[in-house]
């Protein structure tokens, strides 16, 4: 564990001494909860319509697939016409596109970013390497199955997928959300212990709270 994460006594600028335990003080340790659909079907449909029309993607290029996201923002492919846009912070985003292979070091940051996103949230795995390891099936540093660590709503295959494939994938995700079938976040909350156990199996120095949002 890093020295800055350990419990310690700190003297503030005003001379008052106080104790800081970063892992407990800076985070809320409440666990995720399963979000029940609205009581009325028609209300849930309205919610799902609104969710499907405002897919905001977290701008975190975790792998090489990120390079094909940039053309989507330009007039040629223009993903904005579907209500898709990119946001710089997890708090404003509801779709995490895992753009390719995840090294163990990145996986740790990805879990943190994912857990900081607000519900409802979705995960799209991009490229063969998120599916089964792809080119890196024998690499000692990349995970082979993304769905062991994060709940994946949709995969877009290819190495790497073209922008058209990404657009088709996003439209497919919209259909899933519209139909109320994109239940990844709830799956994560329901099987939280299983996901955590898998994550901790590959991330050895777990120096963060179990759920950090």
């Amino acid at each position: 564990m890093k020295a800055e994460l350990e419990k310690r006594l700190v003297t503030g600028p005003d001379g008052v001494e106080f104790e800081v335990d970063p892992l407990r003080d800076y985070y809320c340790d409440a666990l995720p909860e399963v979000q029940r659909p609205a009581y009325l079907r028609i209300v849930e449909d309205l919610f799902n319509w609104a969710r499907a029309e405002s897919i905001w993607i977290l701008g975190f290029g975790t792998g090489c697939g990120a390079i094909e996201m940039r053309p989507l923002m330009t007039p040629r492919f223009d993903a904005y016409r579907y209500g898709i846009q990119w946001r710089p912070t997890p708090r404003q985003a509801n779709l995490f596109v895992i753009s390719g292979y995840l090294s163990v070091k990145t996986l740790k940051r990805v879990i943190r970013s994912y857990e900081q996103m607000q519900n409802p949230k979705y995960v799209v795995g991009l490229g063969s390497c998120t599916l089964n390891g792809g080119m890196y099936f024998d690499s000692y540093n990349t995970i082979k199955r993304l769905d062991q660590y994060l709940p994946v709503d949709l995969y877009i295959t290819g190495c790497m997928p073209r922008p058209e494939a990404l657009l088709a994938g996003f439209l497919e995700l919209k259909k899933l959300i519209r139909a109320g079938k994109a239940e990844g976040a709830n799956q994560y909350a329901a099987n939280f212990a299983w996901y955590k156990a898998n994550q901790k199996q590959v991330i050895h120095d777990w120096d963060m709270p179990d759920y950090n949002w």
Binding site: G133, F137, D138, Y140, N141, R145, Q148, I203, D205
Partner: protein, 197 residues
Amino acid sequence: MPSNADPMSLAGVHARLQALFPLGDLAPRRAGLAFVDLPATCAPPALSHLRDREGFGHLVLLTAVDWLEEELFQLTYLVCNREARLDLGLRVRIPREPARMESIHDIWPTAATYQRELREMFGIDFPGSPRLDEAFILEDWRDIPPYRRDFDTLRFARENFAERPGRETWDPASHMRQRLYPEANPGMDPSVPGDRS
């Protein structure tokens, strides 16, 4: 001057260097690139000499090769003289256990980065090099250094990461043999994946 070679050629550089250090023979690769063996203790002074007196100011790379069979690491210092368009690779052989080499970060500050990588990926110690023990690429690595030859990356991946069932891997040579000469390998249907490697 022990040789009458062209002063601006690798042979000339080698001849002048040989007068100062116990150097091996020059192994030319192509015009402008050659490799030479030298003992580990001579490498830093030889590099200093090359940088200051011979114009080899550019450290192109510093890397290691694991000769597991001979229980040796080969460190390659590749230096370049831009004006004369010459590249000289210094090959230093050090034992695998304990793998230790003198640091050259005071000759080239950028060498510290290479040495951090070699420390992490090969487990070679460079005493005195800055931030040597900080994690560089890997985070909390617990196995033997991964670039060593005795580290089996496929086995490590199978043991540590869950695999999705259904992925098939063929050995290219035996797969092509089945495809091209099915009669020589009866009982093997080329359309059925087999021979998982």
